[in-house]
Structures are given as structure tokens and as C-alpha cells.
């Protein structure tokens, strides 16, 4: 590939799923094999692109590892045009999205993609929205990608139909529509006071906001923050999450773990870009509040993990606890702590995604969500699994219970951050950062360490209990029918966690370098605006 073509690489994660999803709408539902092949190809291309960008961000392409790759759409220069920015953080998120997205899709190919109409198109649109949200460098464009992501997620949450999903969808759609309105109010207030929507431009202008406008600007940021805190499921705005995620079909729940992390990503990105130490009177705005909210989320998630009875709900609360952990550390705004937090986020997202997939296999046979459903639309399938259930039983993997149990134990240890696996490396890096940093050994740091350790302990108790119930107390006659794509999907996610553990040094190096890069927002601004200030 020539360098000029490589420059367009960054737009592929948005363009490819969009075009493929649009094309799929032209195909009949019966041609699901074509659609599945197309989705797989798109996901593979996304994975390739993400890894290529990640590799470039880590070793440094043309301009070294510390620059961001900037792509001006339609060649309109920032801050007037919309830019896509792939820096260390964006590419890390993109790689995470591509991996979890591919795993969810492969899992769905076993049977879930036939459980309702237009699964593949919605799935690819979700991938497009999530990728766009982490790549964009413009606040309003972020809103558009967020809405694409949410619109696709509404459809996917309802995928498979059934009363439980429709009830969950009703609440999920309402709360996210409200969050979008908060998003718009926040963006409007920020535009009204700063006069910019480009994130880099915004960052550069913040020190010069007139004092009279500053309260209004900060109110705008707070309202904008509420929108992402709802998405990231921070306490007390995230009470909707366990219900919605546990009602969703398994592959959808697995990719929904990404949605929460996108909320966390935006909070991290914006708070580092807008409230850096040199940003004048707004420096450190709401940082302590973010930490306290994050810790409250962790505590709430830990309590929920212990209280929940079903694995899906346990994992839902674990997702909250993981988001809360990262949020609390975003509030600390310390480079080495952020490095550990990002590492932990990647590991816990992969592991919670895997657990959602395992949960569905374990509860198979008592598919409550499917009991007594009726078709409401002409093209809806009433009984999607009946046709293929019989023919595929022959392909049940041998010793599936043992292998699945091993996967479960592995994912549980990562989510609970127990040594020697990836989650532990992340938490250890966080603790070391908290104990060694500038403001080290303050009471707050000890509180964070205590609460994070407690949440690990609570998660371990809950998952061990669920594991005993799910694997050891299992009725012998009730064999697990696991299909090969499902093994590949779960195994892939577990394999990534394993890789994160084995290559922990290199990965942690990347994330701590990313944390360091985030604390130097002027470099980001310079890369985007190219000396146009």
C-alpha cells in the first residue's frame, strides 16, 4: 500500500460497516449466509485496520509514537472541518472494539443472528457508531456517532424479541433519549460560551474564556458529563444497566460492554483535554466529584454482584464496577494511574464480554425470554431456533463442560483482578501509581485502594458461587450443547486476556505511555490544529 492510501486507513472503521450495513438492507432475510459472510469480512477488516493503527501508534509511524494521526474529512482543515483523530487512546479503544465486536459476531453466527430480522445490519451500524465515537475529534460529530450507536443498540437490545426484552427496551430507550438531550444541552452551552466544537480548538480556547461566561461553560460541561455518566452507568445514574444488559441476547450484551466503556472513554478524553492544569480557572473541574462518583459506582457494583442471583446480572454489576474503577481514576488525572486504569479497562472489558457469552450457554434450556412470544411484524420470526436445533446437535464439542468451566474460571479471575492474570496486573499498576504519585498517601488514595480491593473480593465471592452452581452442581443428563463458533468466540476473548497477561509488560508499557500522552493535551492540540493557533 502506498502512503497516500494508508492515510485513508483511519476512515475505514466508519465507512466499511456503514456501506456493508446499507448493502445488507437490500438482501432478503433468507440469505443470512451471505450476510454472515459479509459481516465477518467487515469485522476482520476492522480488526486488521485497528491492529495496523495500534501498531503505528505504539511504534510511531511517520511522526513517532507521540503524535496523533489526523484525518480531515473532505480535506477541510480543523477547526472548521470535522476531523478524525487516531492517537494512542483512540487506537487502543478501536482495537478493543474490533476484538469484542468480532467475538460477539462469531458467537452470534451459531444461532443468534437468525433470532430476528436485520441482525447483521444493526450489528455493523453499532460497530460503526462505536468506532466513530472513539475516532472523532469534534464534539457534535461525537453526538452523531453516539446516536448512531444508540439507535443500533435499541434495535439490538430488542433482538430476539420476548416480553423481558421489550420491557427492558422501554426503559433503556427512554433513559438514553433523555441522556441525548442532556448531551445536546451541554454541547449547546459549550458552543455558546467557547464558540468552538472541535475538541482540540476547545482545549486551546479554554484558558481565554471570559470570567463572566465561565460558570455557564462549567454548567455546560457538567450537563455534558451527565450524559456520559449515564452511558458509563456511574452511580446513581446507572441503575438501568444490569436490567437492560441481562435482558439482551448474549452477543448483544457482550458488545454492550463496549458502550459503557465508550462513555468512560469520552469522560476521560474530555476531562484530560479541557481541564488540564494550565487551563486557567477551570483546571481540575469536577475531578474529585468524578472520583467520588466512581468509587460509589464501584461500591454499588460490588454490592450488586454479591446480591445478584443469575450470572447475567452478576456480570452486569461487574461492568458497572469496572466502569466505576476507571472513572474514579480518571478523576485522579495522574499519568501512571491512568496507564494502569486503561490496562484494567481493556482486560475487564474482554473478560466481562466473555462472561456474558458463557452466561447464555449456562442458562440454555430455560430460555425464559422466549416463552410465549408472538409475532408483531410480518417479517418477524416466531420460532427462530426450531429449524436448526436438530441438525447441529451432532456437532457438540467433547468435554465442552470442562473447557467452558476453564474459560469461566479464567474470565472470573480476570474480572475479580486476582493474580496472576491480566486484571491483577492492571490493578497492581493502579495501586503502585496511587502510592508513588505526587499526591501519594493521601486519605483519598487509601480509600480508592481499599474500595477497589473490596470490589475484587466481592466479585470473586459472587463468581465462585455462580461457578459452583453452574458447573459442579450440574445435572449429568443436562449436557451443554456448545457449538463451534461459540467456542471460537469465547476462546478468542479468553485468548486475548491470556495474551494481555503473558505480554503484560509490553501492553502495560503502551497504556502507561498513553496515560502520559493524555496528560500532555497540548501535543494533541498541536497535532490537530497544526500550528494554526
Amino acid at each position: 500500500m502506498t502512503p497516500s492510501l494508508l492515510e485513508h486507513l483511519i476512515i475505514l472503521p466508519i465507512l466499511l460497516p456503514l456501506v456493508a450495513a446499507a448493502f445488507m438492507l437490500l438482501l432478503k432475510e433468507q440469505r443470512y449466509k451471505t450476510k454472515a459472510a459479509l459481516s465477518l469480512a467487515v469485522c476482520a477488516a476492522l480488526l486488521g485496520t485497528a491492529l495496523l493503527l495500534l501498531q503505528e501508534a505504539s511504534v510511531g509511524g511517520s511522526g513517532g509514537g507521540d503524535t496523533a494521526r489526523v484525518y480531515s474529512l473532505g480535506n477541510w482543515a480543523a477547526p472548521f472541518g470535522i476531523v478524525l483523530v487516531a492517537d494512542r487512546l483512540s487506537t487502543l479503544m478501536l482495537a478493543l472494539i474490533a476484538v469484542v465486536g468480532a467475538a460477539g459476531l462469531i458467537f452470534a453466527l451459531a444461532r443468534w443472528d437468525r433470532a430476528g430480522p436485520r441482525f447483521h445490519a444493526l450489528y455493523l451500524l453499532l460497530m460503526m457508531g462505536v468506532s466513530g465515537a472513539v475516532l472523532t475529534g469534534d464534539l457534535f460529530n461525537l453526538f452523531v456517532f453516539f446516536e448512531v450507536m444508540l439507535a443500533a443498540s435499541y434495535g439490538l437490545l430488542l433482538h430476539g424479541s420476548g416480553e423481558a426484552r421489550v420491557k427492558a427496551g422501554l426503559g433503556y430507550v427512554a433513559i438514553n433519549l433523555t441522556a441525548s438531550l442532556f448531551f445536546l444541552i451541554g454541547v449547546a452551552l459549550i458552543y455558546g460560551t467557547v464558540g468552538a466544537l472541535n475538541m482540540a480548538d476547545l482545549s486551546a480556547r479554554i484558558p481565554y474564556i471570559p470570567d463572566a461566561d465561565r460558570p455557564l461553560f462549567e454548567a455546560g460541561c457538567a450537563i455534558l458529563g451527565v450524559a456520559f455518566l449515564i452511558k458509563a452507568a456511574a452511580w446513581p445514574l446507572g441503575l438501568w444497566l444490569p436490567g437492560a444488559y441481562s435482558a439482551a441476547s448474549a452477543p448483544v450484551a457482550a458488545v454492550f460492554t463496549l458502550l459503557s466503556k465508550v462513555g468512560v472513554y469520552v469522560l476521560l478524553r474530555l476531562s484530560m483535554l479541557m481541564f488540564y492544569p494550565e487551563s486557567g480557572a477551570s483546571a481540575g473541574f469536577a475531578q474529585t466529584l468524578l472520583t467520588v462518583m466512581g468509587l460509589a459506582t464501584v461500591l454499588f457494583g460490588a454490592a450488586g454482584v454479591i446480591a445478584a442471583q443469575r450470572l447475567e446480572r452478576v456480570v452486569g454489576y461487574a461492568v458497572m464496577a469496572s466502569s466505576g474503577t476507571v472513572l474514579a481514576l480518571v478523576g485522579m488525572g495522574q499519568a501512571d494511574v491512568l496507564g494502569g486504569a486503561l490496562f484494567y479497562m481493556v482486560a475487564s472489558t474482554l473478560a466481562t464480554g466473555a462472561l456474558f457469552l458463557i452466561a447464555e450457554i449456562l442458562t440454555r434450556g430455560d430460555d425464559r425470554a422466549f416463552a410465549g412470544q408472538e409475532a408483531f411484524f410480518d417479517d418477524e420470526y416466531t420460532d427462530p431456533f426450531e429449524a436448526d436445533e436438530v441438525e447441529e446437535v451432532g456437532r457438540v464439542m467433547p468435554r465442552s463442560l470442562a473447557l467452558l468451566g476453564a474459560f469461566f474460571a479464567f474470565a472470573a479471575l480476570v474480572v475479580a483482578s486476582m493474580p496472576p492474570l491480566a486484571g491483577f496486573i492492571g490493578k497492581l499498576a493502579i495501586f503502585i501509581g496511587l502510592l508513588n504519585g505526587e499526591g501519594a498517601r493521601q486519605p483519598l488514595n487509601w480509600w480508592i485502594i481499599g474500595i477497589l480491593s473490596f470490589s475484587s473480593f466481592a466479585t470473586l465471592i459472587a463468581l465462585v458461587r455462580i461457578g459452583i452452581d453452574g458447573f459442579w452442581k450440574r445435572d449429568e443428563s443436562n449436557a451443554l450443547a456448545v457449538r463451534s463458533p461459540e467456542f471460537v468466540a469465547i476462546g478468542g476473548l479468553i485468548g486475548c486476556c491470556l495474551w494481555l497477561t503473558v505480554a503484560g509488560g509490553a501492553a502495560l508499557d503502551y497504556t502507561s505511555h498513553t496515560g502520559d500522552w493524555l496528560t500532555r493535551p497540548t501535543d494533541y492540540v498541536a497535532a490537530v490544529l497544526k500550528g494554526r493557533l
Binding site: 457534535f140 416480553e163 420491557k167 422501554l170 430507550v173 427512554a174 441525548s180
Partner: protein, 112 residues
Amino acid sequence: MEIVLAIGIGILTASGVWLLLRPRTFQVIIGLSLLGYAVNLFIFAMGRLKAGAPPLVNPGEVDTSAYADPVPQALVLTAIVISFALTALYLVVLLTARGITGTDHVDGQEPE
């Protein structure tokens, strides 16, 4: 002019929030629509109110105070389209929920 707009946005928002917190799905969707209108007006107002000023720049005239800010107008257009589409989508979910659960309560069941 500002006070009229501010009162209008305030009334729309207050009614929207009240309806959003009501237990029937139809009230919720009307509440969301009203809130959407309020937010759209608010975005528009953030470009400052100006009467009779065009948003398009005349090549010869560079005095920016003679123009209305075009950006919020573009934003509000996008916001209208998106909120319209999503409200329509919510309407479908609402009708499906009504059909499956047999009630229009947001919890999917009548309170005891």
C-alpha cells in the same frame, strides 16, 4: 425577545420533565418530544438571537456582526432529524410493549 424565548423554553422543559416522570408510556413519549423541542430551541438560542440577519456570508462583507451564527442552525437541523427518528423508534417499542404486556404502564404491569 430573549425573555419570551426563555419563558417558552422553560415551559416546554417543565412540561416535558413532568410528563417524562409520569407512569404511562404515551405521557413519556410526549414528554420526550416536548423536551426535544425545548432543547432544539435552546441550541438555536445559543447562536444568539438576531432578527433579519442572514447566516450565509456575503463575499464582500466581512463584518461578522451582520450575520447570524450558522453553526447552531446546522446543529439544530441534525438534532431535529435524529430526535424525530428516535422518537419514531420509541413509538414502535411502546406499541410492541403495549401489545405484549397488555398495559401501557412503563413497568409493563399495573401497580398493585
